[in-house]
Amino acid sequence: MSQAVASNRYDPFAPNPAWTKIKPADASFPGAAGLSTGLIGLGVACIAVVAAVALGMVKLSGSESGLKYALFSYHVGFAVALGMSLGSLGVVMILNAFAAGWSTTLRRQFENAAAMLPVVLALFLPVLAAALLAPGKMFKWMDAAAVAGEPLAEHKAPYLNINFWILRAAIFFAIWLFLSWRMVGLSRAQDESGDRRITSRLRAMSCWGLPLFALSLTFAGFDWFKGLDYKWFSTMFGVYYFAGNTLLALALIIVTLALLRRAGRLQGLVTEDHFHDLGKLLFSFTVFWAYVAFSQYFLIWYANIPEETAWYQHRMQGGWQVLGALMIVGHFIGPFLILLFRAVKRSPTLLALVAVWQFLMCSADLFYVIRPMAYPDSSGLEHVWLDVLGWLGPVLVLLGFFARRVASNPLVPLKDPRLHEAMAHKNYV
């Protein structure tokens, strides 16, 4: 191997012997396309039902609570879809910045999920439309009349006003779309050319991209989720949001890879050892999420300052406390104990089951953040089916487009210079 390095050092196009070891059948799965249309259709149908119910209730009874309900349900689904895609973009940039070799064969699926950001932008349009057409239904501060004379709302008006809010959303999407377009596009270009300088470019771009990513993600979390309750604030919220998003991305990719392996693909490319390490990542982000979530809750609980505590107080009664308990037991303790086992991490099937569970828990976590704001005075869980549809709609649409992308691209970076490292990857301890 040292000889190969010696002779290839200055030829950026020199072939890596590992490239030829990929069998075309292992690295492509056009069959996923069939899934795509169905998922998208189902997702759009869910969204349509939610929209119809909301508008129908407004038309028939003149009550606007249905609209509010529908908007919040959809917002949860949007949050999950955004989380999967944005979290994946973060993972792609982190892997590139770290010059990771072991994960080369996994990176393409994260890239596919990151490439879903245009879909997420489309999914954001209803949220934007609601903000413009029905201000104050979701974000109370957008309704100037409702918060007139409220000192907190007035104080925050320079930041929390609709024009600036839209401008910020545009900036966030501009950053994310640019980063995902370059990260994914360059990686695809390398599939053709095998130019190893692309790897260095991706690395450099990830390094300056990550600070931008961190800031945009934090403020997007503030704007779209923390901002639902304009009175509440927490400096930790961005970190909390990041942890949840990364977990969502990991869960999505683990399930995708496990399904691809089940379909007989990726033989010798994604092995038990890769699942082992993905399992470790899932484990560590579960612990990290718990650490951040607990610290945030705990500091607010301990200091007991009214304007902070109100947010949790609302979630500790009227039925929401069950969800809170589920977050402790189901989102942390259960997966923590299960993922301690090496055998679970090394089995694609078992790990995928845990990942599905964590996906549900992450959704529930976002639900816990978003949904209680629909009814600040009561728990209001009267139309659970609407919540389920609102959650499923955006998620299915995103998964549908994701399946299409998985089907139409090579499953691994075909000419990555570090392919041999991933193919030889082994956990010895």
Binding site: F294, Y297, F298, W301, Y302, N304, L340, R342, K426, Y428
Partner: protein, 194 residues
């Protein structure tokens, strides 16, 4: 110097020419690759009481030797989690039972403030179990060992690689074992006295 004793299985009594009991036979290798290949040969020959000695853990050696995975993680997890449980119990008993005082108006049985100490005690138990458990499973400390009396063996801690097969192994046979080690590429094959 102990008296020669019989091999557990075949009943043969092995001793050196000087009459000392035999611990086994050792052979040296130059590189981790040679060592791995030789270990595979010894494993395939069916030996059980033997070991490989290298200045660092050679990757893939457990497969080459056919070592079963260690039980240590189970022990560590059990004791670590119990430690955390004990930490919780201590805090609960102190705070809500034995010495109830109002602090900052917080409930006596609030679980939240117990989390930090619960975690720390769990970690403390885990760490001690990992180190002491590792030593116990390895039967360490053991400051005397027949191999350590061999001058050549002392170079293992520097850059030599050694395979030692014990005379207690049922398949041990002075000639056949020597032939096996030699065929596997072993150098400086010598007997080790008890």
């Amino acid at each position: 110097m102990s008296t020669p004793h019989a091999n557990a299985m075949n009943g043969n009594v092995y001793a050196t020419e000087g009459g000392a009991a035999l611990y086994g036979m050792m052979a040296e290798f130059d590189t981790p690759a040679d060592l791995t290949h030789a270990a595979e040969k010894v494993r395939d020959a069916g030996y059980a009481d033997w070991d490989v000695y290298s200045p660092f853990p050679v990757h893939g050696m457990d497969d080459a030797m056919g070592n079963p995975p260690t039980k240590l993680p189970l022990v560590v997890a059990a004791i670590g989690l119990s430690g955390a449980g004990l930490g919780m119990l201590l805090q609960w008993w102190v705070t809500s039972v034995d010495y109830r005082i109002v602090v900052q108006g917080k409930p006596y049985d609030a679980w939240q403030p117990w989390v930090p100490v619960l975690f720390e005690i769990g970690v403390l138990f885990t760490a001690f179990t990992a180190l002491l458990g590792m030593l116990a499973f390895n039967k360490l400390p053991m400051w005397h060992h027949p191999l350590m009396k061999k001058e050549r063996f002392l170079k293992v801690s520097d850059d030599r690689f050694v395979i030692a097969i014990e005379a207690a192994d049922p398949k041990f046979d002075p000639q056949k074992t020597r032939d096996l080690l030699a065929a596997a590429g072993g150098k400086h094959i010598e007997l080790v006295e008890e």
